[in-house]
Symmetry: C2
Subunit: 230 residues, 2 copies
DNA sequence: CCTACCGATCGGTAGG
DNA sequence: CCTACCGATCGGTAGG
């Protein structure tokens, strides 16, 4: 979990070591993403860096450590997105959830490789690493449930089962690593904005920003502007 | 894609061969799910069946063929769930989507192992198999987009971007393989029913089956029961 | 469809 | 941090 930019009080020696670790992890993430963990040998990683295998062992104890570091960064970024909103952002549950949605999607898509690797390579993690990382996932879910509960209590959300809704939200966002392409039809910003709206809709919170939109008129025999202005 | 139950006009010889294939695939799916594809040797599969490796090679040409068969059954079941509704079920887009949701979730959860394996082991598929299976996934998405478009055209759904919404729905349901446990809090039936409701909500279709439900009352200053029980 | 085996790959390390 | 190597695993097959 060393940061990519050198920490202030690091000696030159540590900075170099940190840089080598970072570079190794970046190359490993590329290859694990492209070819899969088991189909990537340490020799391949070393080759792409123009070094040899013992270079890697000078900075990591095992191949599995590379994997654990990559996976934990993936969920850490998602968790940080959630925590960032929960601990600093004011506003009601709907506003906070909208921002969580945007940041969560952004985190997943900017850590697309890491998230993909974690989803796929779970079974290749050392048991201890798997448990640590699973715990992060559970934390994430629990915090999201809490936010949904607050929204329900405030009458902003209409959800029968907040736990299921949280899992659904977590799934629709996490899954984005499968289909999102940076060069695709939607930019990262558009994707995160639209996904955030879908999340609000899922929890029964209508934006009602434009009265024209025929949001929920379905069962009402009388035609009226269904979704009242906020 | 041989069915697990013997086809009517099969000779006893073919029935036995089909049975052996099915049993092999079932054991392989168990092990691939528990341990991962690369961490499962053919000797392990054979051992769990009390045979030896050449038994497997008498019915399959390679380990990768086992994987391809397992993966393709996974998405085939999801695709069949969707097609079943689209080709036979009457009703408007909302009713059809609700049923798609129920059957899709049911398919994912009853094929949980297969879906998980496909999601994880993509990189271990032979290129040709990967393409075939990816095409099934694209078919699924395209059909779901079409259904959402119909709902929007009929004024039943309120979605800005039906393509994104379809991917979101596909994701929230597919992801259920990650968290669902048969012995968990919700039964398969409850899960599929509630997930289906979340899908309808995501596309902006309010059930409105019970007038009591405060679906979109958000901005109303009058306090009423916030989240009434269903 | 079993016994027995081959050939290749690869994580990890000794030695310097 | 490189050269060189070991030990183990494993997909696949020959031969019967």
């Amino acid at each position: 979990m060393t940061s990519a930019t050198a920490a202030p009080m690091m000696g030159i020696r540590d900075e170099v070591a940190a840089l080598k670790r970072e570079r190794t992890l970046a190359v490993a993430a590329e290859l694990f993403y492209e070819r899969g963990y088991e189909n990537t040998s340490l020799d391949m990683i070393a080759e792409r860096m123009n070094v040899t295998k013992p270079f890697i062992y000078a900075h990591f104890t095992s191949k599995a450590e590379l994997l654990a570091e990559i996976c934990s960064r993936g969920i850490a970024s998602a968790l940080a997105a959630l925590d960032g909103v929960l601990t600093t952002m004011p506003g009601n549950a709907a506003e906070r959830l909208a921002e969580v949605g945007r940041r969560f999607v952004t985190a997943v898509l900017t850590s697309q490789r890491h998230i993909a690797i974690f989803s796929r390579e779970e079974k290749n993690l050392a048991p201890a690493d798997f448990q640590t990382i699973s715990q992060m996932r559970r934390d994430f879910d629990a915090k999201l449930v809490k936010l949904l509960d607050q929204g329900v209590a405030a009458g902003l959300f209409s959800v029968q089962d907040t736990r299921l809704a949280a899992l659904a939200i977590g799934g629709m966002v996490s899954w984005a690593y499968v289909w999102y392409r940076p060069e695709g039809r939607l930019t990262l910003e558009q994707t995160s904005e639209e996904m955030s709206k879908l999340i609000l809709s899922l929890v029964g919170n209508q934006p009602a920003k434009r009265a024209a939109k025929t949001t929920v008129a379905k069962a009402t025999p009388v035609r009226k502007k269904a979704a009242p202005k906020g």
